[in-house]
């Protein structure tokens, strides 16, 4: 088990190296010259060349990559071309809203989606099942920004129950913090809920056919316990997997959701950085997202061994 842990953690290194190379080269290949952008419209080719040299953009690709990677390993993500602030500082300022949004969405989605999927599987073919699965299809097909504006219109503008926009730091109270997150989390969570509910239902349908479920019933175990203890624990591996994979969905959705609800988070930072071609910021944010995703998958691999005793590394 310990050997596995070490190997699994070490495996993160090559993955991140490839991600790094990809992030670095993608931006080198992208159109648009940051030197020309900084120099402005009136600059002469010589000025641009000078700025390019000062940014180090005139040196070979691999040399630049090496230096870049070395700096990142020392916790230096560079300086924003636009604001001249260190990228780590800029990310630090934006982390809390995004982490809050994703965590609230994650918890809310799992708490809603898993029971829905379980009940749909239990009542397969009945009305409840059809309603849940119909809603799931809807959740998949309606775009995030449509849901976001719709929810904001109904619950914020018309009913006035919740704030339509903005973010309140958690330091100013859990209540206001949560109130600002409800609509964004609902918006962001819809696709995620649909995904988890569908996978839960499909897996549970299979598990409920198994002999050990019949054994549990024959032992006099109550229906709820049969479903949520005996069956769900057996269905947990695919469900946890899809929850992990879905984190990517949340990261992508956060960018749009933060824009719709004017939340000053990493998603907004990413969009702004792309619009300004602020290379160091883009690289920093993408690296952070990738690293988070890799870590989530690592955590899930470890979680498997807790869920299913047959999985041993």
């Amino acid at each position: 088990m310990f050997g596995f842990l070490v190997r699994r953690v070490l495996a993160v290194i090559p993955v991140m190296a490839v991600v790094g190379l990809f992030v670095f080269s993608l931006l080198s290949l992208a159109p648009g010259d940051p030197a020309a952008l900084i120099a402005g419209d009136q600059a002469s080719p010589a000025d641009i060349e000078r700025i390019r040299a000062s940014l180090g953009l005139d040196r070979p690709f691999l040399v630049r990559f090496g230096e870049w990677a070395w700096r990142i390993l020392h916790g230096d993500l560079g300086t924003s071309i636009f604001t001249n602030l260190p990228v780590t500082t800029m990310i630090g300022q934006r982390v809390q809203p995004t982490v809050s949004l994703m965590l609230v969405t994650l918890i809310f989605a799992v708490l809603v989606a898993v029971p829905l999927g379980v009940v749909a599987a239990w009542k397969a073919g009945r009305l409840v099942d059809r309603l849940v699965m119909g809603a799931a299809v809807l959740g998949f097909s309606v775009p995030v920004f449509v849901v976001g504006y719709l929810l904001a219109y109904v619950f914020a503008l018309e009913l006035g129950w919740l704030p339509a926009q903005g973010y309140t730091p958690i330091e100013q109270g859990v209540g206001p913090w949560l109130a600002n997150l409800v609509l964004p989390a609902l918006t962001l969570g819809l696709v995620y809920i649909a995904l988890i509910a569908r996978v839960t239902r499909a897996t549970m349908l299979d598990v409920l056919q198994q002999d050990y479920v019949r054994t549990a019933r024959a032992k006099g175990v109550a229906q709820g316990s049969v479903l949520f203890v005996h069956a769900l624990k057996n269905a947990a591996v695919p469900i946890v997997t899809v929850i992990g994979i879905g984190i990517a969905l949340l990261i992508g959705g956060a960018v749009v959701t933060e824009t719709v609800f004017a939340i000053p988070g990493l998603g907004r930072l990413t969009v702004d950085a792309i619009l300004r071609r602020d290379y160091p910021v883009i690289q920093g944010v993408v690296l952070l997202f990738s690293f988070t995703y890799v870590l989530v998958n690592l955590a899930i691999d470890l979680l498997y061994t807790l869920i299913d005793p047959r999985i041993r590394y």
């Binding site: 002999d211 050990y212 019949r214 054994t215 869920i307």
Partner: protein
């Protein structure tokens, strides 16, 4: 045996289990009656699909309704299980009536420890604490002959062999000292040597716990070994019932005789004039979706007549304590 019915532990009266399927009603069990006395071992014998497992599942009401529709009465200690509310029924399952299933490899929950699965019934029905339940689970494992029970109790099913898993199933079934143990083909999936061990274990435990056993099997060897009385089922009906000795000595229904002919006997083929092959019952079990007016076995019976095809034979006593449903079954003078 009407006088026995009053005192019976379990009596099944005219049980009908019908499944609604897209292409008609499947009469899986069609008017079956039998009873089990306390401490008795009753074997229910028949081919796959004759309705024996469905009968046992309906006693515990574990068949999904719909598609299943149950009619008749199942009386356990005087209470009709078919009309009991689900809550009451749950208190009986795993407690007064428990089951050992056929497939030890798949009948245990792979992600729960053996101790938890044994302890669960104790916690449910006897209100034991987690700790006490685990203590009892260790004792149960020792009782069913699993070595190192204290270590095994923390293990998971995949760490145990098939025979061990079936012992665990038996431990689960006996944890609450049931009055009736339904054993649905308990040895079919096991090696022959393990089969003998499990049968010995069941017999031994039955003596200790004093449970009645309803043994469902197609293995006549097992029946001869452990049963007191035998019910033979065919196509959802009971065709013969007798004490085990009577049944093996004088089987009265042609289907029962056919079953016995289909059992291999050592040295049988060497005898002069003996058939070289194992006798089989020709033909197929009739579809349970069409109503049969005559005898259900008419299509496969070697001595079938027109009477059999048009009139269903009544299940009637042919000798003391020996019932058979056949127009031509030999009848002792005493029985009439």
């Amino acid at each position: 045996m009407p006088d026995l019915k009053e005192s019976a532990l379990l009596s099944v009266e005219n049980l009908q289990v019908h499944f609604r399927t897209p292409d008609g009603v499947n009469r899986a069990v069609d008017g079956v009656s039998f009873s089990i006395q306390s401490g008795e071992t009753l074997a229910i014998v028949g081919e796959s699909g004759c309705g024996k497992s469905v009968t046992s599942m309906s006693i515990l009401r574990l068949l999904p309704e719909p598609p299943a529709r149950l009619a008749g009465a199942i009386r356990f200690e005087g209470r009709d299980l078919l009309s009991l509310p689900e809550r009451e029924m749950r208190r009986i399952r795993g407690n007064a009536i428990s089951v050992i299933f056929q497939e030890p490899m798949t009948s245990l929950n792979p992600v729960l420890s053996v101790g938890r699965q044994i302890g669960e019934t104790l916690r449910l029905h006897q209100g034991l604490s987690r700790k006490d339940a685990e203590e009892r689970a260790v004792e149960m494992l020792a009782l069913v002959g699993i070595p190192e029970p204290r270590r095994r109790v923390r293990e998971y099913p995949h760490q145990l062999s098939g025979g061990m898993r079936q012992r665990v199933m038996i431990a689960i079934a006996l944890a609450c000292s049931p009055k009736l143990l339904i054993a649905d083909e308990p040895t079919t999936a096991l090696d022959v040597t393990i089969q003998a061990q499990i049968l010995d274990l069941m017999r031994d435990l039955k003596r200790r716990v004093g449970a009645a056993i309803m043994l469902i099997t197609h293995d006549l060897g097992v029946v001869a070994e452990v049963a007191d009385r035998v019910v033979v089922m065919y196509a959802g009906r009971k065709v013969e019932e007798a004490a085990v000795r009577d049944l093996f000595r004088t089987p009265r229904h042609p289907y029962t005789r056919g079953l016995m002919g289909a059992v291999p006997r050592l040295g049988a083929a060497e005898r002069p004039g003996a058939p070289q092959r194992l006798a089989e019952i020709p033909g197929m079990v009739p579809s349970l979706k069409t109503r049969i007016d005559g005898c259900v076995f008419a299509g496969r019976c070697p001595s079938v007549t027109d009477l059999c095809r048009s009139h269903a034979p009544a299940l009637e006593p042919k000798a003391p304590g020996h019932l058979a449903a056949c127009h031509y079954a030999p009848k002792d003078a005493l029985a009439a």
